[in-house]
């Protein structure tokens, strides 16, 4: 690979190699405040390859690869190289991680107490986590909650926050001084722009937190809140985990312990303000 970038995000480190300079330059700029992998050796390797050698010059498109691959992952145009890199990094962690139970969730923390927000794409995880970070919560991550099976504590994974469509302007208004990546218009997920987590999130990325609330937010509905029982939370989290099956009994123990210890609530919301109020009322 001609261009290489390495970074550590919480307990996971990545080495991204690319046939092109642009995605690596963008990563280097956006992850400027992050540490390098410990000992210089990354946990995961990501490759952004030209789909065909000659396509590096003619209509360049990016195929993502690494230790773990999805055979059906479609190549992306080079203009979306940053998105491809982020997707590839997530994929390596999602499929390769064995130290932690991975939950597809955003996490914020205050005074050592963490709120875990989980739900399908479009539920508002990233948006709500970013908005909560503007209100003094520490952003632990917008994509994966890393649950330590031994301790029941959460590790932070504060990667770039992936904001989509209308959420981009909502978060820019709430965090006017924050740094953002380039606007990538018309990706398979719509318009995407990355938010760089603030200094507080980076400075505390190695601090663990105890989960105290599990929230299932749902955007686009009249305000409502209902408690979610441990059984339903367990079922929904097995679906929201990328490595539950791979962890075997350790995953079962970690998840049953989590849903028994952490009260869960489902929150429907029509706008960000009502969701924030409902979540902070739980904290």
């Amino acid at each position: 690979m001609r261009h290489v970038f390495s970074v550590r995000i919480g307990p996971a480190s990545f080495r991204v190699g690319s046939d092109w300079r642009a995605p690596v330059d963008q990563l280097r700029a956006l992850y400027a405040g992050y540490p390098a992998p410990e000992g210089g050796i990354a946990d995961y390797t990501v490759r952004l390859s030209a789909t065909r050698p000659w396509r590096r010059f003619v209509r360049p498109s990016v195929a993502i690869a690494g230790d773990y691959m999805l055979p059906d992952a479609a190549p992306l145009p080079l203009a979306h190289g940053l998105l491809a890199a982020e997707m590839a990094m997530n994929l390596q962690l999602a499929l390769g991680e064995r130290r932690f139970l991975l939950l597809h969730a955003a996490t914020v923390e205050r005074d050592g107490r963490a709120i875990v927000l989980t739900g399908e794409s479009g539920a508002g995880k990233s948006t709500l986590a970013a908005l909560l970070s503007a209100r003094g919560w520490r952003l632990m991550g917008d994509e994966f909650a890393l649950l330590d099976p031994e301790t029941g504590l959460l590790h932070a994974f504060p990667r770039l926050v992936s904001l989509k469509n209308a959420a981009i302007d909502v978060v820019r208004a709430a965090l006017p001084d924050a740094r953002f990546g380039p606007l990538m218009a018309g990706t398979p997920k719509g318009d995407i722009r990355h938010l760089v987590p603030g200094e507080a999130a980076l400075a505390a990325m190695d601090q663990l937190a105890r989960p105290v609330r599990l929230v299932f937010p749902r955007y686009g509905f009249t305000p409502d809140a209902r408690p979610v029982g441990a059984g339903e939370a367990f079922v929904r989290l097995t679906q929201a985990s990328t490595n539950y099956v791979a962890l075997g009994e350790q995953g079962f123990d970690a998840l049953t312990r989590f849903v028994r210890a952490v009260p869960a609530i489902a929150i429907d919301y029509p706008d960000a303000a009502s969701a924030i109020a409902a979540i902070e009322a739980e904290a």
Binding site: G229, A230, G231, E232, F234, V245, F252, D253, R260
Partner: protein
């Protein structure tokens, strides 16, 4: 012909966690998590590591003759999931 007998894994073969009205059962042999409600955990316990006939299980739960059909259905479901053996 001998009556069909059923057996669930011995206690060490399963991890069972009650989660409100659901029970999560981790089957160590297959690595599969099953979700169940009453009376499945009780049924599993009654034949944990021991071959039991339908009659013995029906007696253990004090079932009337017209309730045996439901017991047979539950047992056949458990056999289909691999949690219970039939012989």
């Amino acid at each position: 012909m001998a009556a069909t007998r059923y057996r669930a894994p011995a206690q060490g073969g399963l991890r069972i966690a009650a989660l409100d009205d659901l029970v999560a059962i981790y089957h160590r042999a297959s690595g599969i998590t099953h979700l169940a409600v009453a009376p499945v955990p009780e049924l599993m316990e009654a034949m944990a590591g021991e071959w039991r006939t339908l009659d013995a299980l029906a007696d253990a739960f004090g079932l009337a003759a017209d309730e045996r059909g439901a017991l047979i259905e539950r047992l056949e479901e458990l056999v289909a999931t691999g949690l219970v053996e039939a012989a």
